[in-house]
């Protein structure tokens, strides 16, 4: 028993940064999503690098060709664009990340009659 106590006491509390905060990532058109640990990433650039690796779209998120649109769903269930929030805030509020093609986003646009 004493050995067990010693064993347990020697286990360090996991660093908060190391706690896996699994955030699902889906690319439109792909049935299987991925998960990314936002806690080990420190910036949007690192997030984009990680997503490029996972979805094999190297270079396509970082550059500005606008082929992809990175969106996220927050706790209110609303879809927002990735990048506007300060990174630490984003880590806390992003419930799900979505990768849409530009064409897909355009299809989602709702026609609005502004009276002109």
């Amino acid at each position: 028993m004493a050995d067990m106590d010693d064993c347990l006491s020697s286990i360090e509390e996991p660093n908060k940064e190391q706690v896996f905060r699994s955030t699902k990532v889906f690319m439109k058109g792909q049935a299987i999503g991925r998960a990314v640990n936002l806690n080990i990433l420190n910036s949007y650039d690192q997030l984009k690098d990680a997503l490029e690796d996972k979805f094999q779209i190297w270079g396509e998120l970082q550059n500005c060709n606008h082929k992809w649109v990175l969106l996220y769903i927050d706790h209110d269930g609303e879809m927002m664009i990735v990048g506007d929030d300060p990174w630490p805030e984003f880590r806390n509020i992003a419930k799900k990340i979505l990768i849409y093609s530009r064409e897909e986003v355009n299809r989602m646009m709702m026609p609005v009659d502004f009276g002109f």
Binding site: D76, E78, M80, N92, N106, M108, P111, V112, G115, F116
Partner: protein, 190 residues
């Protein structure tokens, strides 16, 4: 830190003499626009034409159901004018929730709470995703309008020209207090 009222901005259709015919079940409220002229910066977005959509089509039912899982929250969206006065239930800025979650995180997160409070959601009719702006980064309505133009101008061919009555767009906000929607510009920037 003293609680800062949270707000959500929405660019919505102006109900005015400019509106064409046709019925619309769009959930919106007509509010008075604050008459400030803003230079037309649409020319800076000529290269974004490929992202523009034809906004001349008939108005449709609000697209809330398309990508809002929780209708009861109705964050950022308006009630029809006939129902105006019933406050939008469930209005809670995401920053308020996250602020609560972060309370246990110690001093390291304290410095971030100020920034967190100042970021508000902005939604525009027809655009499926919202944006965030840091309200405290701006010193006046003009500055705010310019950022919104940068964010949303490409969706509206001639530029959104906020606070211009002729633009056909209104910027409204919902504060924490009472949940009523008001026209941006009615009160001093401070």
């Amino acid at each position: 830190m003293e609680a800062i009222p949270s707000s959500i901005f929405t660019l919505t259709k102006a109900v005015s003499m400019h509106v064409g015919g046709g019925s619309w079940s769009y959930m919106s409220t007509a509010l008075m626009a604050y008459n400030i002229r803003i230079p037309d910066t649409a020319s800076s977005y000529q290269d974004s034409r490929d992202a523009c959509i034809d906004l001349g089509l008939s108005l449709r039912t609000p697209f809330l159901s398309m990508y809002h899982d929780n209708q009861s929250s109705k964050v950022g969206w308006l009630q029809p004018e006939s129902q105006y006065g019933a406050s939008n239930a469930g209005h809670l800025m995401s920053h308020k929730k996250s602020k609560g979650e972060e309370e246990d995180d110690g001093d390291s997160e304290g410095a971030q709470s100020k920034d967190r409070c100042c970021y508000v959601k902005v939604n525009m009719d027809g655009v499926p995703y919202g944006r965030k702006i840091g309200v405290f980064e701006h010193t006046d309505y003009w500055s705010l309008a310019l950022q919104l133009q940068a964010m949303f101008g490409k969706y509206f061919g001639s530029g959104i020209r906020l606070f211009d009555e002729a633009s056909g767009l209104l910027l409204i906000y919902q504060s924490n207090e009472g949940g009523e929607w008001r026209s941006v510009g009615d009160c001093p920037w401070e």
